[in-house]
């Protein structure tokens, strides 16, 4: 059982370097007003997997499903309130990023106000006494001494509060860290400029438009598929590349891209993808990507020896120090270490 769990984890890691599917709306509603409401609602709902992101920002599967549910209910004519109420009934108020005002949350909302009032009252009180009001001094001989005596604990409280807040900020604060919208996030993942992402999106749009009128162009389908793959949309990439391959773009690179898109889409090397990678190897016996994924497929079947053999062959065909070679060597070493085998055959 333990070994199985480790192997499963390893598999997850092997497929992890590739971006997961989608951000933002997956199936925007046709009605722009309704879609705007869906987006606004999604921004107010918490992704229960990531917990500090809204479902609008999250690329977790559950968030995607929840976005779908929100759109479905809005399309069915529900009001915003009813959508939120339906989700609150299942997940509790936690699902709302902004907690509602109700008896249970009253301390939360009232506390800042109370602190302000209390602090203000204390301040005013101290100020008045210092003013040396004659009647107060007459009534209470100690009153004049109080401000100074009272200053110690209050100053101590202030010092502790500022000290803790300051330390926490210095340790945890990241004032320079900008939030990351989709394009910069993609750009960072792909190691390119943000402008390149926008350019690629533009290219995908142009290709989509061209293919709407000329659906028979194999090259254009393949290019569109590659653009989608680059943009982290593997399901669309696989569909487009499939069209391209079926229409005759059967070179090793295109077929390899198709299989890779399928793997990214499923986060699993299934039999169909494996067959395509085998076809790629028949065309280009040294293709490192095909070798890598065929190794992963073997590992999925718990066939460690075969996985190692595939990876070693692929690594040997690559020049020393190339990205694929480094990557393959890294995984070979890790797998060998896990299985107590020497990294070199």
């Amino acid at each position: 059982m333990r070994r199985g769990a480790i192997l499963a984890l390893l598999l997850a890691l092997l497929l992890a370097p590739f971006p997961a599917a989608a951000f933002g709306p997956d199936e925007p509603l046709a009605d722009p007003a309704l879609e705007a409401r869906a987006r606004a609602l999604s921004k107010e709902l918490r992704c229960v997997v990531c917990q500090n992101q809204s479902i609008d920002e999250s690329d977790a599967e559950l968030a995607r499903a929840m976005r779908g549910l929100v759109r479905e209910r809005l399309a069915a004519g529900d009001t915003d309130q009813r959508v939120v109420a339906a989700l609150t009934a299942r997940y509790g108020d936690f699902i709302r990023l902004m907690p509602p005002v109700k008896p249970a949350t009253l301390p939360l909302w009232a506390a800042p106000l109370l602190f302000l009032l209390f602090g203000g009252a204390a301040w005013v009180g101290a100020f008045r006494r210092r003013g040396g009001d004659a009647s107060a001094a007459a009534g209470d001989a100690d009153a004049a001494a109080l401000p100074r005596a009272g200053a110690v604990p209050l100053l101590a409280a202030l010092a502790v509060a500022l000290g803790v807040a300051g330390t926490a900020y210095l340790v945890l604060g990241r004032p320079g860290l900008p939030d990351q919208p989709v394009r910069p996030r993609l750009a960072e993942r792909q190691g390119v400029e943000v402008a390149a992402i926008a350019e690629m999106e533009g290219m995908a749009t142009r290709l989509e438009a061209r293919l709407a009128t000329h659906p028979g162009e194999a090259r254009a389908w393949a290019m569109l598929g590659r653009a989608y793959l680059f943009l982290g949309r593997p399901a669309q990439a696989a569909a487009a590349l499939r069209r391209g391959v079926d229409l005759g773009e059967t070179d090793a690179a295109t077929q390899g891209d198709l299989a890779e898109a399928m793997v990214q889409r499923d986060q699993w090397v299934d039999a169909a993808a494996e067959d395509i990678f085998l076809a790629v190897l028949a065309l280009a016996p040294d293709d490192p990507r095909a070798g890598y994924y065929l190794g992963v497929a073997a590992l999925q079947r718990r066939d460690v020896a075969r996985a190692l053999a595939r990876w070693r062959r692929a690594a040997a065909a690559e020049p020393e120090g190339s990205p694929w070679r480094r990557r393959l060597e890294f995984h070979i070493a890790r797998l060998a270490e896990m299985k107590g085998l020497p990294p070199a055959p």
């Binding site: 769990a5 997850a12 989700l87 009934a89 299942r90 204390a122 005596a149 409280a157």
Partner: protein, 174 residues
């Protein structure tokens, strides 16, 4: 007079208390989210059965206590708790919901590890999961004979949890 002096220390005491509570709560592992569904009737889900044309409907689970276990073949923690269900299957009715999982893979997973479930509903698009307020796998619900959710547990069910917290809830009806 001393009472008055004491009051002045109150803000400092309150602040230290706040810091202590925050420190303890932040250093502890996350507590599972409370579910508002406990005590309420189970939402009315209906899922296609794994390997059959039938339907796993919430309505059909009435009349006796039932354990509903949300699992998936991709879920490593589910494999960890699986032996508990295999053992429990002899004394309780356990129903599975295969969450966001390819039925083929679910079947292979169950074939490899053993199938403790009386029935398995296929929930690929999180339909039932969203209805049940699922936040991750594995997750376990206990339904009373009248169809109310009487217990929810997010995470790996250990033999201990099964014995102490779930089995007692099944006592009457089964």
């Amino acid at each position: 007079m001393t009472a008055r002096r004491m009051i002045l220390w109150l803000p400092l005491a309150a602040l230290l208390l706040l810091l202590a509570v925050a420190g303890v709560r932040l250093s502890r592992p996350e507590a599972p989210l409370p579910s508002p569904l406990v005590g309420k009737p189970v939402p009315d889900f209906a899922l296609p059965l794994l390997g059959g044309d039938g339907v796993l409907a919430a309505a059909a689970l009435r009349g006796r206590p039932v354990v509903v276990n949300v699992f998936a073949s991709w879920c490593v923690a589910c494999a960890a708790e699986h032996p508990v269900w295999l053992a429990a299957a002899q004394e309780a009715e356990i129903v599975g919901i295969a969450w966001m999982d390819d039925p083929e893979k679910t079947r292979a997973w169950l074939a490899e590890r053993g199938d403790p479930y009386r029935a398995v509903g296929v929930d690929r698009d999180s339909r039932a999961a969203l209805d049940l307020g699922v936040t991750g796998a594995p997750e376990t619900y206990v339904l009373a004979a009248d169809g109310r959710i009487v217990f929810k547990f997010a995470g790996v069910v250990t033999p201990e949890i099964w014995r102490r917290r779930i089995r007692p809830l099944l006592g009457g009806g089964s």
